[in-house]
Symmetry: C2
Subunit: 157 residues, 2 copies
């Protein structure tokens, strides 16, 4: 997979157009609107939430939620966005212009902190090897209570 970490929006767009062309797909206003909204608001988006924001930023497109789902799948398949499954809280998407990282999530307020830890990644690789697996992917999410929510709790009691 290509590394999109340091891409400017123009480069990203060029990359996207290349992927579209390579697959005989078309470059549409909707697809660009979704990509640019993701790029300019680098958060962890619910499909619904991204849909609302694109609608707000580009009201003239009258975008449909089906298109958002379709485009997110397309972008994820091609490595331009990545997603995390948060169980009950649903699935969230983010643009893949950052190095690989995992997530630390506050169970109380939903805050998401990103982190990376090479040592864990190495150990994961080792575990897979020990069990005869070729490691292709992993999911790691840490759940806890963030410092702000800890403070709130103390006050509340």
């Amino acid at each position: 997979m290509k590394n999109f970490e340091t891409m400017s929006y123009d480069e990203l767009l060029k990359e996207f157009k290349g992927i579209l062309k390579a697959n005989a797909l078309k470059f549409t206003k909707q697809r660009e609107a979704i990509l640019s909204t993701l790029y300019n608001n680098p958060k962890h988006f619910t499909s619904e939430c991204l849909y609302l924001l694109v609608k707000q930023k580009h009201p003239e497109l009258n975008i449909g939620i089906a298109t958002v789902y379709r485009t997110l799948s397309l972008l994820e398949e091609n490595g331009l966005v990545s997603s995390i499954s948060l169980g009950a809280q649903g699935k969230k998407f983010e643009i893949a212009n950052k190095p690989h990282h995992d997530h630390l999530i506050c169970s109380e307020c939903g805050k998401i902190v990103e982190f990376e830890n090479e040592q864990i990644e190495r150990l994961q690789q080792q575990i897979a090897e020990e069990n005869g697996f070729i490691l292709t992917d992993h999911l790691m999410q840490l759940y806890g209570i963030c410092s702000e929510c800890q403070k709130k709790r103390t006050k509340g009691d």
Copy 2:
């Protein structure tokens, strides 16, 4: 949370009854059938799959799938079962009578290998602390291709 690792079925049942009583809930044939089926078939069960097995083992109960969902939630809330979310492949449940472990999953055949790694656990704790979080839980799943599926692939090509 209590440690259920070394419990015999009788002990587990006693524990369950205690939880029920403490919450003014009733001990029913359905609830016991579900618990015993989980205990005697220590696998990773889909709700549907568990439902079918309980139905087969206890046809006289004519159990409904709603009861299976309800009971699994109840058991999970009380730490007697734990679940893993496998994205597209759905959610799987297992009885919590083993030490904590994480999962290595074959993307091709769905095989699940359990593992534990103290070193990773320590690093996770450390990461949470560094970010001011109190760690309460974590999720770690490694995805890959198991050795059998690797062999099949080579033959297929």
